[in-house]
Amino acid sequence: MKTVTSPFRFKGGVHPDYNKELARDLPIETLSCPAELVVSLSQHLGAPATCLVKPGDYVVKGQVLGSRTGFISLAVHAPANGIVKAVEPRLTASGGQSPAVVLDTTAPAPEGVDPTERVLAPLDWQTAPREDLLRRIEEAGICGMGGAGFPTCVKLNPPPGKRCEFLIVNGAECEPYLCADHRVMIERADRIRTGVEIMRRVLGDPAVRIAVEANKPEAIAALERAFADIAGDVEIVVLPVLYPQGSEKHQIYATVGRVVPEPPALPIDVGCVVENVGTVAAIADAVEKGKILLSRVTTVSGDAVATPKNVEAPIGTSYADLIAFCGGTKGTPAKMISGGTMMGFAVATDRIPTTKTTSGLLLLSERRVFRYSSQACINCGRCLRACPMNLDVAEIGKAVESDDMAEAESLHVMSCIECGACSFSCPAYRPLTQHCRRAKGTIRARLAAARAAVASAKATT
């Protein structure tokens, strides 16, 4: 094992105010179970889980609430004992509604129900067959905890003919304010090591690169200690502080110098699998201790939170409970954000539950927010310089403004990773990222419609 500095620097990127000092040095605190949990059946990328419970049912911690529906899907478990109050659509952080199971955790267990937590049998990862490990990762409901929520069991099982040469463990955490991964690396470095060894077995012994941004020396030191005596090709890669260092494509380039081609290519096409440090630690717990993924670490921060904290809370805890745990608000919050300031979602209410992918909850005062205005582009080229995908964002924005989606597509808008670097650096405060989102949405809808038309034409002939 050795520590190296990243030899590859991608083009573009920006330096937002990180504001990590608010929560960087605060140890993870545990929020014991709130009176009500709202467990979304769609916490992962892909099809929502199929609900297995109905109102009035008593469920036990670890019990399956919803089963995996398809290939890209995951099971959802009860984070605590309680009675199902309702199964109804609830607002999600991203603005949609998805079915959720509402649990009253104060209800006593009825006669004849064993109220002890359901755990899986611990596995010895050194001897257990690969299939058992994969199945365990699936049964424990583990998905990517960095944000996208891609089911981990799918990612760790590359399609035939594709081999994973590099396992990249993403500890960059380049989002401003967020420190959850940072704390996990400091406090649970041994779990990450075990997780890495399990994943190495599952993936057929790839080289391991653990990517951490240079502004986390404590995390790097903790990982160095934990990985000191590990065998094989393992490197801790120290990345320069630059947003979006945590983007999958850019991290692959920064650590191993490989470039993922345009969509629909995936990291596995260049022999890489990227997993977030939190996910890796969850894999270790699931295999070694049989623990199902029922809680996660979330950073509650921002200048309108009384006492910012890194909170380990049961999945389904409402934002209101998280904020109350952190001493409530300070001053008047002007914006509430689920996630970080660069890619997080603004939300309208604190009655939204956490999910497996909630990495942060921010409350910002009026002083820390800004408003978009669609002034004319002055062609300063800052967006182009900031874009890590090297897209001509200014031209894309103008094309979208005139509803010319074909032009936007020819400017490679589909490669946009929506990192926000363009909007961040635009002196005219143009909502460029939103322009890209709009173009991508319209083009995707058109492609879907064209596919449907082809399918229906085939069906009729």
Binding site: S94, G95, Q97, A348, P431, R438
Partner: protein, 269 residues
């Protein structure tokens, strides 16, 4: 001077001659009925029929690849005319117009946030579910108005309104609305339920002063379930347009005031 005039006129004459010859000998032969059908169509190129413009539909009709009566804009008159040209049986066409099933204007429905971004309903809905308290109502950012080929939709007080006189029933707004609250309804129907929120009455009351409560009073006043003038999905009443109610008193009797008589299109000729 005279020479210049002569030269210009000469060039013009030669050009005109070339064009005339080209028109005579290089003309593309096509079924003359295409031109006739094309002329019979309204020429709005709205795309409501599913073909690229009126000319596209005319070609498909003549080729027998499209059913007559797909032109909502033209209605029965155009269908009859086309049937005459092509020697088809006359198709029956009911004129349909778009109806925005929401009457929760800014002065009736609460806002739960201040949206700041592009004026587009889909994007606003994707930002924390939109700034409107009601998750089912009209956001008022004009996605429907932007696609309307007839400019028949306007946004007033945060609410889209369709001008019946201008609407040709092409249905573009129906698919543009991210909340899916626009429906094509028969133009002669006069009673409409202007709400799209299927949740329980008390929940609706929290966000909107004029949302359907699901109280079934309209159904009772219109002769009960047996009369079949209304259907219900969740806690939302819907007009059964196969068998529409005609009693205009229903609007006054609706406790939520979300039943309307011929809304928004008073300016009909």
């Amino acid at each position: 001077m005279l020479i210049a005039i002569a030269v210009i006129a000469g060039i013009g004459f030669v050009g005109a001659l070339a064009l005339a010859i080209a028109d005579r000998y290089l003309a593309v032969k096509e079924d003359p009925r295409i031109g006739l059908v094309s002329a019979a169509l309204p020429g709005a190129n709205c795309g409501g029929c599913g073909f690229p413009g009126c000319d596209g539909y005319a070609r498909a009709l003549v080729a027998g690849k499209a059913p007559n009566g797909a032109c909502a804009a033209g209605g029965a008159a155009v269908a009859t005319e086309i049937a005459r040209i092509l020697g088809l049986e006359a198709a029956s066409v009911t004129r349909r117009v778009a109806l925005v099933k929401c009457c929760g204007s800014r002065s009736e429905t609460i806002r739960v946030g201040d949206y700041n971004g592009l004026c587009d309903c889909g994007l606003a809905a994707a930002t924390a579910g939109g700034d409107k308290g009601c998750r089912y109502g009209c956001l008022g950012y004009g996605a429907c108005a932007n696609v309307c080929p007839q400019h028949a939709i306007s946004i007033t007080d945060g609410l889209a309104k369709v001008e019946k006189r201008l609407c040709i029933g092409c249905g573009k707004c129906v698919s543009a609305c991210p909340r899916r609250l626009i429906e094509l309804v028969p133009a002669d129907a006069t009673i409409h339920v202007l709400c799209n929120n299927p949740v329980r009455g008390p929940e609706v009351r929290k966000v909107c002063g004029t949302g359907c409560l699901g109280c079934h009073l309209c159904e009772r006043n219109a002769g009960g379930p047996a009369a079949g003038h209304f259907t219900f999905s969740g806690f939302l009443a819907k007009v059964n347009y196969e068998n529409p109610p005609t009693d205009e008193q229903l609007a006054a009797k609706c406790p939520a005031k979300c039943i309307s008589v011929d809304p928004h299109w008073e300016s009909a000729e």
